[in-house]
Amino acid sequence: MPGLRPPQIYAVHRADYGAIAELPWHQPLREWSEDLLGGLPRGISRHVVRFVEIGDEVLAIKETDDRQALREFDILGVLGNLAVPTVEPRAYITERTTAESAKLPGALITAYLDFSLPYRALFSRSLAEDTAGRLVDALAVLLARLHLVGFYWGDVSLSNTLFRRDADAYAAYVVDAETGELHDQLSNGQRQMDLRIARTNIAGDFLDLQAGGIIDPTIDPLAAGQRLFEAYNGLWAELTRVEEFSVNERWRIDERIRRLNDLGFDLGELTVTTDLDGVSLLVEPKVVEPNHHSRRLLRLTGIGANENQARTMLNDLDSHRSAPGYTGGAHGSGELPAELSEDEAAKAWLEEVYKPLIAAIPDNLTRKLEPGQIFYEFVEHRRVMSRARQRDIPTMEAIAYFIVDYLANLPDESRYVDTQKF
């Protein structure tokens, strides 16, 4: 259209620029043609949000004012660099005008997070017990991770979060950071404020689902808010509290590290101070890093997975390694059992268990779940089969039953887009 003033577009990837520039930025997002849209997200954002398909990708576009678009773009970028789970910022658009030169809001573009689901969708798709509690627990972990890196969210809620399945739990991702602030370190007041807002908003999120008849009326929305409070405080204490031990109790440092590992965190740095009398030790974690199991799995096998999925795989790997008489395919053939190193065992497990499962998934079923979640569901399915038949099920037989009886019946979750409008 001649005479239109083009908006300012900043795209992270040069390849995105052309396709983004072709979008009808002179129209309010609300008026964009349905042909462009992958669907409408179901949620309670204050802003107009739309999805568009560009190439084989889906991008989420949020209309907001110019200053906020730039600010949120920057914050999401920093959070990503700090390895906090967030959506990935891809572009921001400013100085938009209509054909008549009237000012339009700016826009923030983020990449659609594959296999993520909004909390509302999980209640219609999950028969798992205590879905509400698991979502809240995931949000508590996310909030603690955000606070560790000095991020005050300011609008903590299930609505501002996306969830990926993570074994029998969920992994939470920040999807809306416009009220957030980054600090070197948060004050207690900032953390308290985030918790206060979280408790109120989570109760509101669940009350709304009840009002819409989406969740069981027996779920207590107020208890869900309280659960976040308790889960967060327990985790935060374990991650940060200073403990005092006798100098003869150095083993308790190992205990602390083990507890952190069990919670999915590694200790990057620990301060141990001996008091003036040399009687007691003050122990304070200084740097704690999440994804203890994910990192170990990645190092051993090259597989990227969420934390609880990785824990499942590592358990299966250990179980495979310790099977009676097992010496690994490379060493096998019935000779005397030999202890495999961890690396050798991981390689054998990869070749004998993981790769056959993933390779057996038909192309039309690969969008059902992430590979890490497929593995977790397979292990669970195999366990149930074994119990029912009172015998071990050979891997290839278990894979065949898993695909036909279970995986094929699941909905696709790679790109969940709800077409219901609010």
Binding site: L207, A211, L222
Partner: protein, 235 residues
């Protein structure tokens, strides 16, 4: 409704030397609408954040109704940030959108009903109590969001540039709404803005801030003169 005393209050951000707020004294009377006016970096938001409990002062004390809350937890101050919770829930009626936070706070159902009806009747929203947000205009939704803070009946209501991100046509309406709500309920209010016109319209008094210093506190009628004198000093 309450008084607020800020005594010798100052603040310095971690890893910085220059104070973000230099020591100052300020008394806000019961039911007063005090505007903190100044440009970006003047310290107005930091003052609000100290009252709210998000930032710890370097020196000084904060008294609400004579009680020292300088080191009190956020939940123990009875200070509410307007638009602290932004979302309106699509399946919930206006009544429930207004009242659910009171349920979280543990108030009995009868008191919640009374508070919600009292607030909505005073701002002309009684007729839409059973509507859902999808049925409301943008302005009505904004009104509900603001009223959500008022039904909590906090001792102190704080607002940090609440209209700055609104489209211009909604800014004036929202300012009028803010003033009406404050006057109707007599809430002690601290409001930060960088817009002198907004400050003059809203404030019973205006506290002028510049580079972390409180320059003076005046009635709106003399605001222009004080701003001119600050400009003279700065130049």
């Amino acid at each position: 409704m309450s008084t607020v005393s800020l005594n010798g209050l100052s603040h310095t951000y971690e890893n910085t030397v220059t104070p973000s707020v230099q020591p100052f004294n300020l008394f806000i009377d019961d039911g007063e609408f005090l505007v903190l006016y100044g440009p970006s970096g003047s310290g107005k938001s930091t003052i609000l954040r100290m009252v709210h409990g998000l930032e710890a002062p370097k020196t000084g004390s904060i008294l609400i109704d004579g009680v020292d809350v300088t080191h009190a937890a956020v939940n123990d101050r009875d200070v509410t940030l307007a638009l602290e919770s932004y979302a309106l829930y699509p399946h919930m009626s206006v009544r429930d959108n207004l009242g659910f936070a009171l349920r979280v706070d543990g108030l009995p159902a009868e008191e919640i009903r009374e508070r919600v009806e009292s607030v909505t009747s005073k701002i002309g929203l009684s007729g839409i109590l059973d509507a859902v947000p999808g049925d409301l205009s943008q302005l009505q939704r904004q009104t509900i969001s603001l009223a959500r803070a008022v039904v909590r009946q906090p001792k102190v209501l704080i607002m940090d540039e609440p209209v700055v991100n609104l489209v211009p046509e909604h800014q004036a309406e929202t300012l009028r709404l803010v003033k009406d709500l404050q006057q109707e309920f007599g809430l002690t209010t601290l409001y930060a803005t960088a817009d002198l016109e907004d400050a003059k319209v809203l404030g019973d008094r205006i506290a002028f801030l510049d580079h972390g210093r409180l320059i003076g506190v005046e009635k709106p009628e003399v605001a222009e003169a004080l701003v001119a004198s600050i400009a003279d000093v700065d130049s």
